[in-house]
Symmetry: C2
Subunit: 342 residues, 2 copies
């Protein structure tokens, strides 16, 4: 076998000491052992590439030092920073991350939770599948025995010890308020699916900001589709072709905003002079495109980092009793990033 | 403890059968056991959320079903697709992925290899730190006892059973040849650091394509810096301010190309009419910016997928003898994506 490393027995033989002595030295319980023996054993262990058998230790401690990270898709520009935040905090605490992509598919989510549980992970950080909001059936995640921390999407699942969310109502309110302060009055809203609480909270924030200024909510200004560039293009074409006057568009994410700006260019409408555009997320592209996109920055890296922190805190508390009441909740703010598009 | 699940003993008690019977049923060695007993035991195991103790099994089989994936940085747009490819193939084969970000730092790489080895991963897929090309010291990776598959960056490390690389010479040759076919003759080349073989191979491909047309290589056309947008801006400003006539720029990656186009716009030089631009990678942004970027698409997802395939093949061959001679090498081609910038 490739990964055979030297055993304690072999080290003992070469150092001409007992197995117990080697074991004590390698486990830092060697205060009664002479310095020279200690050095000899450690030297051999190092030369022969001794690897402490974490698996054997795990069987006794019931801890593997591994955390599962379950997300929809690492190739969606929203998730790499979350993953990086989780990994950075975990690695500070000597935990490793097993990463799983569910494609927002509940069957895949189930399979992964099953595998993670079999691999005896110490806990799970998850942005669960958006389909949960539509389907009622009980999933493996619901019976999961390890502590769970939710990121970005809020849902009632047993064993949740922490949630790291963004105040989407507030973020959306601030975004629309910024547009109003800039003098825009007829603000359309192009969003992705309203199945998630995230999306519904943002719609409420939009309504509230208008209401505060005495502007009544008009459904004709709302276009509901997908969080994709193409939807930004299609929805903007619809808005232009329908007989609705608008002077700004608030977009559910930056991809929609990019699509929207592409479509406006075709109609020779200038951003921000004719139409103001506001995005959401602040993905890398937002600062690169022209005009650069004004947007609400999501604290993705921080969400990942805090989620790992909450989870590891929870794992370390041995006698943890879990219920909704003592679930820790961290609500992060989005940040307005003013660029050129509005 | 949170993750305590039902034990075989508890199932046996509830089903009123022996522990041996439960064990045989749960391990699929139950051909002499009656159907009704079998169903009763499985029903209880399911209801009580029985989890097979993979750790205990791992101690015997010496296999954990976990693969390490070591990359510089998941937030660099180059890596999420590689990671996704690795994960998709691994999950098809019921392997899980531990992900590690080294930031191209050899000390971090060492730490992660150590942790992965302690966690007894079955193998490692790695895009090793670029600093390896500059530093001679022996690293933990060199003494690593598990099979390794290299992605994208080629280097001589023991225990490498596979390499998945791109033919960078050929890709670069084809890119420059495309520009020549379009009528461009004075082609500048803005690249990142030439420390990696990848970058040097591309420079050679550039030279060779020019040579084939009888165009002599001129060092003044080569700008060496970083793979970043800002370097694309700075290098293009240099090219314009220096007294060197050029009609196209081949860029070492798409970020450089995006920066270059930004700078040209400031000089009121039109792409592709005045200056043709060619990128490398085909990141998501390449199709979104205007003009859309002509580029060489790297087969990132495929690289990850094949790397996981090679590694798992290797892990499954128990009596593997590893030496450079039987290292499997997969060389993938890049693909010319023609858009608007040249």
């Amino acid at each position: 076998m490739l990964k055979k490393s030297v055993t304690i027995k072999e080290i003992a033989k070469e150092a001409q000491v007992s197995i117990a002595t080697v074991s004590m030295i390698l486990n830092n319980k060697d205060k009664n052992i002479s310095e020279s023996t200690r050095n000899k054993v450690l030297k051999i262990a190092k030369e022969k590439n001794y690897i402490p058998n974490t698996m054997a230790r795990s069987l006794i401690t019931k801890q593997t030092g591994i955390i599962g990270l379950v997300i929809p898709d690492i190739t969606n520009p929203f998730f790499p920073e979350i993953a990086r935040g989780v990994e950075d905090k975990a690695s500070e605490e000597r935990y490793s991350i097993i990463i799983c992509n569910t494609d927002d598919n509940l069957q895949k989510e189930d399979q992964y939770i099953q595998i993670l549980t079999e691999k005896m992970v110490d806990g799970i950080v998850i942005t669960h599948s958006a389909d949960r909001y539509q389907e009622d059936s009980i999933r493996i995640l619901d019976g999961c025995r390890v502590p769970i921390v939710l990121i970005d999407r809020d849902y009632s699942i047993p064993n949740v010890i922490g949630k790291v969310l963004v105040d989407n109502f507030k973020a959306s309110y601030e975004a629309v308020n910024y547009l109003l302060n800039k003098g825009y009055r007829k603000i359309a809203y192009i969003t992705g699916s309203l199945n998630t609480k995230t999306a519904r909270d943002r719609l409420e924030g939009y309504k509230e900001a208008l209401l505060t200024r005495g502007i009544s909510y008009d459904e004709r200004y709302i276009k509901v589709g997908e969080y994709k560039i193409q939807w930004g293009i299609d929805a903007t074409k619809k808005l232009v072709s329908e007989d609705v006057f608008f002077d700004a568009i608030f977009c559910g994410n930056d991809l929609i905003a990019i699509g929207s700006m592409k479509a406006l260019k075709k109609f020779r409408l200038k951003v921000p002079q004719d139409i103001g555009i506001m995005g959401f997320d602040d993905i890398y592209m937002a600062s690169v495109i022209e005009p650069a996109l004004t947007t609400m920055k999501q604290p993705n890296y921080e969400m990942g980092y805090y989620a790992a922190e909450l989870l590891i805190e929870g794992i370390k508390k041995e006698s943890l009793s879990i219920n909704e009441k003592n679930t820790k909740k961290i609500i992060l703010d989005s940040k307005l990033i003013v660029r050129e598009s509005s």
